[in-house]
Each structure stands twice: as C-alpha cells, then as structure tokens.
Amino acid sequence: MSQVDTSLSLANPHPRNMSTSQKVFLALVGVAITMIFISLFGAAATREATFLWTILGLLTVGGVGYTWETYSHEAAGIKNNGVWFFSESNRGALGWIFGVALTAFYISLYWFPEWLGLNSEGPNTGLIAVFDPLSKMLSGNPASQWFVYGTFYTISILILGVKFIWKYRHSNYHKIRTLSIMFFQTAFAFLIPEFMARLNHQEAIQATGVSVPYYDLKNMWPLNYYNFDGYRIEAMTNDGLNSLTGNLGFIMLVVGISSIFIISPILTYFFGKRWYCSWVCGCGGLAETAGDPFRHLSDKSLKAWRIERWLIHGVLAFAVIMTVAVVFSYLNQHDDAGYWITKEIFTAMVSITLLGLTALLWLRPKLFSTISPNVKVIASIIMVAITGLTIQALFASNGKIFFMEDTYPLRKWYGFFIGAAFSGVVGVGFYPLMGSRVWCRFGCPMAAILGLQQRFFSRFRITTNGGQCISCGNCSTYCEMGIDVRAYAQRGQNIVRASCVGCGVCSAVCPRGVLSLENGPNTGNSRMDDVRY
C-alpha cells in the first residue's frame, strides 16, 4: 500500500504540462478550426458532405479526447488548479484573443452574414455552404447563418457538456443538470425546430396537410419576443392552409405565453429559477458548458450588483414596452380579423397584470421590505405609465401607441441592442473577459422575471451550514453570476438572490461543506434566516 506513484509528480510546476495525447487531441480540434477558416474562401471541395463530417468528427473526437486525457487521470473532485495562472482563463493574451475572435464571429453572424457565405441570391458559399448537407438532411432546406450558428452552439454544449460532466463527476447534481442542458439544447433548440421546418416543406405539407411554424418550444416570452412580430403571429394563427395548422400554431403561441404566466411561476416557486436558467435554457446551457472555464471572471463588487439591478430590470421594462406596443399595433391593424383576442382584451390583460403587480408591491409591504422605497416608486410609475398609455392608445382614434404610428422601430432597436448586441456579441463574445453569464446577469429579461419570482415567491434558497464558513471565498470567486456568496455564508445567512441560477458550483467548491441548494418552507421571518455572526 505504501507504493507511491511518482509518475504523477514528475513535471515542472509553472508551465501547464500537457501530455502528448492531450496535444494530439487539441491538434485535431485545431485542424477542424483551420478547415472552418479555409471554407470561408469557398473552395468547391469544402462543400462536399465529407468535409463537414470531417470537421464535426474532428471537433468531437478532439474535444472529447482532450477532456478524457485531462480529467481521467485525476481523482474525482474540484479541478480548479491553476485557473488563475493560465492566460486563457485569467484575462491574459489568450483570453483577449479568444474574446476578440468570438466577438468578431458574432458581429459577422448578426450583421454581416455574407462574410460567412450567405448570399441573398443564389446558393450559399463559404462557411454556410459547408453546412448545406446537414441542413438539407434535417429540414430539407439549405443552411442559413442561423443554422450554422445553431450547429456550432449545439456541438459546443454537447462536447463541452461532456467535459463539464467529467470535470464534476463526483457530483450527481452536476451530472444530471448538464445532461438536462444537453438534451434540451439538442432536442428542443436544434432538432425539433428543424424537423418542424421539414414538415413545412411543400411536399410534406401536401402529403400531410400540416404546416408548422419554426419554434423553439422551451423559449418563453420575453426571450422569444420575436414571436409577436406580425409575420410570426400570422404564421401561428393563420388558418389559410388548413385549420389543423392554424390550431397547432395557435396552440404553440398559447403555450409560449402561458409558460411565462403559469408553468414558469409554478416551477420557480418549487425549485427556483434554476429549473430554467441552468437546466433548460440554451444561453444558460452554453454558459454552463463552454463558459465554465471563465465563470470566475464575473465581477463580485457591490457596484457591479448595483449596475446589474438597474440594467436587467431596465431591459425588462424595455421588453414589456416593446411587446405591448408591437402586439397592440398588430391587433389594431387586424381589428376585423376575428381573433378571440382583440385590442380591448389585450389592454385589459396588460392593465390587470401591471396594476395588480403595482398593488401587490404596496399592499404587501412585508414581502417587499428589502426593496428601497425609491425603487418601489420607480417600478410603480413605470407599470402605471405603461398601463395608462395602453389605455390611452385604445381610446385614441389615430391608432398610435406610446405616441408611435409604427412600432416596428421599437422592435428593431430592441432586436439590435438587446437581441443581438447584448445577448450575442457581449453575452458570449465577452466570456473570456467578463465571465460566462454577462447576458444572463445584466440583460436577460426572462431571467429578470424569474429572478423576481425567485426572490419573492419561491421555496428555493442556498442554505448556509451553521457557522462552518471559513470565509475562504471559493464560492464567491466561482459564482458565475457575480454573487458575493461569502458575504452571506460567513454571517450564517442563507442566500436568497434574484440572480442565482442555481448552478450549484458554490456548493461544490466549498471546502467545508457549507452550502446546499434547497427547496423548502420558510422558517421564521424569511428564507434568508437571521444574521448569526
């Protein structure tokens, strides 16, 4: 038993020691990335199906192989050795290069897809053409930039999900949670929409008589704000082709709306917002897998928290205003379309919701005792103002809402600033600089709603185990949402924060077993418990 395996301890301390097989597997990934670059120049050979399968195969074999080599030789447990020493994970040169490259990819994806090979007329070229074979296989259509993006996105979550599971293989919570993320991304965000598009194919429609809109079923308002664009509402409610299609599409629309008002509150009440943010959501999924090496880069300062609260709730207000405006003007223009929902009913729904929330804010002061009066006043003014202006629009003869004839610019600017620039370019492009949850923390309006639910109407909290905290700071450091977990834990207080996505990493990295994610009833005054130290 005293036989000591010295092979583990032969290497030089400071540079990272990569084994030969690790280098080989990384080289495979490198070859795949090189092939992707080459395809941008549009050689005919890159359009062969084998070229694409080679890229995907190399990424998978290289990625999974590298993971295997990295973690399989080490005992199960926390693997944060050297995190702050490596250039790619400590905002060093590699981190910046990676960040700039990712940002550039997002900019071309959103605004210059022609760089990637999208042609408004004629077939795809470049990188997008590489993905035509796969796209045709799934949906029957040639690839778009979004298909390319979706494929990369899904592949990243799958390969790096395997990596995450290996890295945290001592924890069933992380294994199950990551499998859930991988499943929802692959099935709901990637495959099902593609199959639905296949059903929409002309021949398919003729064969089955069904036309189904492209729709990621797990997305809810306000994440799927684009569902309220006129053409999508039409796609979802149009019964032009046949009634079955219209019904199916309409059911999806109803599911989409009811999920945020019914399904989500129930699940969030019982489990906290984590049921969505770190178990189901695609943005969260990418953050948890591809973003995991950067989670410690989130800003933990009080100042960052202050900015976060204004920003994310500001985006939420913007999303509400935009949606109300877009839906209202659509209904206004289709007043005679015979939908069961009319602008009157819509106005009533908006008024009841917003005024109800305002009333709650003031009639249940105990529940909201931690919110400063100023914030309550501002939130109330915004909610009452939106209600008032919607009612004003209903009675106005000119059909203007929020004094706008055409609400499309509102929708366009929201799409530009929030949908593209914030969630994509900053949200993922800045992973290596600001951590993996920039979008989820500062921008996502869905996270804002779930967060408010979690903060005020939920059984979820992170429990602190008595006085065992040694203030080491691992929990705060590895909190991707920038929550200063230690500030609570060292006082013996439970953590009840709107932003907590319940990833469970604070509990995993705690060297003293102090933190546990729990759902349960309240004791005493609040889920937070009193300060003990």
Partner: protein
C-alpha cells in the same frame, strides 16, 4: 471610547465589526503589519494553487472599512504602555487607546531542529509565508513537509497541485491520529497516498536540515537516517501564540496571553482574542487555546459586548470543526476522541470502497449522543448541534438521521445503512423515519 485592535485576522475583524454594530460612535482602529486589509488566511493555499487571487480572499471590499469607520493602520507595534495607555510603533509613532484588543495570532512551531532557520525552510501562516513559498517554488525540484496536521496536509496539496514532488513526514504512525479515530485516520492516509500519490512517510521524524553552499536547504535527514534531497522544507508542526508584546507590558502569559472569562488579560482594559488567547478556565474537556478560525469568530461578538455594554462571559460553544484533506471533506460536531473512551460507544459506518464514513459517538449506558465525525459526507450543523445540546438518544438520532444530511441534491444518502448497522449490532428494529430534506430538518429543529 477608542478601541484599538492589534491584528486584522478573523478574531480582530470580528471584534471590530461587532463593536461597530453595537456602538456607532466609538473610534475603532485596527493595526496590522502583515497586510493592508483583512484577508482570509484559510484561503492561503488556494492562492498558491491558482484557485483564487489574493484579492478574492478578502471578504470585504475596500469601501467597507471607511463606511464602517474602522481605521486601518499598516504598522508594527513594538510596545504597549498600559500606564499611559499608548502603543508605540516600530517607526517611533505612538497611538493612544482606551481599550486594547490583542488579536496577534500565532506562528509556526520550530522545535530546535538543526538548520531550521536556513533559506527555504519556513512555516505557512502569513501572507509573507505565501510570498516566500512562491519565491522558493521557482526552481523547486522536491519539497519536504514536516508535521502531520491540517497545515501540513494543505502544504503537501499545494505542491502536489503544481506537480512538485513532495515528501510528507508525519511523526505519528497514522495521519492526525491524535485527533482522528484510527479508521478515519487510515482513510486520510489512503487519500494522500493512493488517491493522490503523495509520498507520505508515517512514523518518520525530521532529524536535521542540511544547507548548500548558499545557505539554502539542500536536503533533510530523517530519524531513520535517510537523506532526502530537497530545496524547500515546510515546518507545519503546530503553531504557538504570538505574545512578544506581553513581557514589556506586564501581561501575564503561559503559552498565550492568559485571559479570564471576559477575555480580559491580567492588565485592565487589555483583552486578547483568537489564536493568541489562552483561557484560564476552559470548559471541561476543552483546550485553553483553540487555534482555529471559528474561535476567533466566536470570541469577537462576545468581546464586543464586553467592550460596549459591559462584561459578558465567553462560553465555549459546542465544538465543531471542519477540514478538507485534498479531496476528502471532514466535519466534526461535538466531542469525538481518537479512541473509544470508557462508557462510550461508537457507531461507525464506512463506505465499502469510497472515502466516506459516519461515526456517531454516544453514551453506552444512557444512549445520549455526544458527537458526529463525518468523512466525505456533509451533515447539517444546526441539527447535529441541536441533538448534542438537547442530549438526544442514539435511537432518536438514527430514526431522524435524514434530517442531518446536508449533501447536495441527488447524492446518495447512507442513513439507512447506519440504521441497519445499528440494528445488527443491537438486535433492534429501528426504521429511518425522516429522510433528507429541509422540511425534515426544520421539524427536528423545532421539536
């Protein structure tokens, strides 16, 4: 009132924070020669291992100190004059005080080993120690750690994390066996050796440390005469209180500053907390110096009461402690000795192949539970302490054991195994009534 605190570790900071909580008017000054701001000494290893930066280990942001009007001074105190109630710093400046709190901490023990002051030989307590460890690590080919305690295992893990071969000398025949029962101690041996491949030498002592031509350690000689070449020796055979200030100030000391039940030293208005304080009258079965993080944290609020509202007694709370031996977590609640004492019974369950175990100590005659020792499994502090303080019986504890489980969700729980083991040993037919969960924990806590 001007409260001056020497030392910005957890004990000193706890005093400062709680004095400010109770009294918004008084002046508070906290002095440290070590660092500008309070940092968590327990996280020292994680800085070296690259898990955290030094800034990450600071529990409070810089604005905290100004906001709470806790004045910070980065100076070294050389003298205390109780007559004039004045401190003198090494630069000659002086500072008056009304109440003085000594929170000076402790330093690594050196037991007169030949070569113990060579370059490359050091303990691991201060920020300075961390920096010099970093310095010596640059050309380090082999390190030796001497002393099988909690700091020793941390230091071994630190080198191991950087793939620096390390030999770990432990005087005892099994790691930490003066504190841990044999089963748990053996489990830690296996964790160190088999799981992580660290060269653990049990029953081995340091005899001497030999220098190279530059006065840096070249090798050590063990008591068995073996020569182990190394460029660094970590001395981690315990710590002793820093009491240099006592002699000239006339403060009575033994190993630490001797304090009464109000944490006051023999000199009026001078108090001591944390690692440097030695209780004149410790609770029965408890040590007079408990050099752990939690002691500093518990003494702070009590002394703050004394300073602001008048004398308040410091009572040693039910003992708990925790550690992590590389990947193996350890928690203890209550009184668990390294052996089964007279009149005591231990219910010990160990996982057949994983490093997990639960030990419940109870009185053979009355069945009253007195302690829990956990390896690789997390238990709920409040529930364990409630059972101990309310003198719950072993059978009550076992039937409700799920309420004590604090492992993350989806982890396998082993309460049934413990109940089964007890039933087998005692011919009983107990059933597990409460499973893991917050609701169950609350039910036990309210009962």
């Amino acid at each position: 009132m001007h409260v001056v605190i020497i030392g910005n570790g957890i004990a000193g900071v706890s005093v400062a924070r709680h004095v400010r909580k109770l009294d918004s008017d008084c002046d508070i000054t906290m002095i440290s020669a070590e660092t500008d701001f309070h940092w968590s000494r327990t996280a020292l290893m994680y800085i070296y291992m690259g898990h955290m930066t030094f800034e990450n280990t600071q529990p409070y942001e810089k604005f905290f100190w100004a906001k709470n009007r806790i004045k910070l001074i980065r100076k070294y105190v050389t003298q205390v004059d109780p007559e004039k109630r004045t401190l003198t710093f090494s630069d000659g400046d002086a500072l008056p005080y009304d109440k003085l709190v000594l929170a000076t901490g402790s330093s690594p023990n050196k037991f007169g080993w030949p070569g113990q002051d060579l370059a490359g030989v050091q303990g691991m307590v201060s920020y300075n120690d961390l920096q010099s460890m970093e310095e010596y690590s640059r050309d380090l080919k082999h390190a030796v750690v001497v002393g099988g305690g909690l700091i020793g295992i941390e230091m071994a893990e630190m080198f191991h994390s950087r793939h620096i071969p390390v030999t770990f000398l432990v005087r005892e025949e099994s790691f930490w066996n003066r504190v841990m029962p044999p089963d748990e101690s053996a489990m830690i041996n296996r964790e160190i050796r088999n799981t992580h491949g660290i060269d653990l030498r049990l029953g081995t002592e340091l005899k001497e440390i030999l220098p190279d031509e530059n006065g840096r350690v070249r090798c050590i000689i063990t008591n068995e005469g073996e020569e182990i070449p190394c460029q660094f020796v970590g001395l981690t055979a315990g710590v002793h209180p820093n009491i240099d200030l006592a002699a000239q100030a006339g403060i009575e000391t033994h190993r630490g500053f001797l304090v009464d039940k109000y944490l006051e030293t023999s000199v009026k208005d001078i108090f001591a907390v944390g690692d440097c304080a030695q209780l004149r009258h410790p609770a029965s079965g408890r040590r007079p110096i408990e050099a752990v993080w939690y002691t500093g944290k518990h003494m702070g609020p009590v002394l703050a009461q004394t300073l602001v509202n008048g004398h308040t007694e410091y009572v040693q709370k039910t003992w708990f402690n925790s550690a992590k031996f590389i990947n193996l977590e350890y928690q203890v609640y209550g009184d668990v000795a390294s052996e089964i004492r007279d009149g005591e019974r231990h219910l010990y369950w160990e996982h057949p192949h994983d490093h997990k175990s639960v030990r419940i100590v109870y009185n053979a005659a009355t069945g009253i539970v007195t302690g829990f020792n956990l390896m690789g499994i997390r238990y709920r502090s409040d529930v364990c302490i409630k059972w101990i303080e309310s003198q719950a019986s072993i059978e009550e504890v076992l039937q409700n054991l799920g309420a004590a489980n604090f492992d993350p969700e989806f982890f396998r729980s082993y309460e049934r195994e413990l109940v089964r083991l007890y039933n087998e040993q005692n011919n009983t037919d107990l059933k597990l009534k409460r499973k893991k969960g917050l609701r169950n924990a609350f039910a036990v806590l309210k009962s």
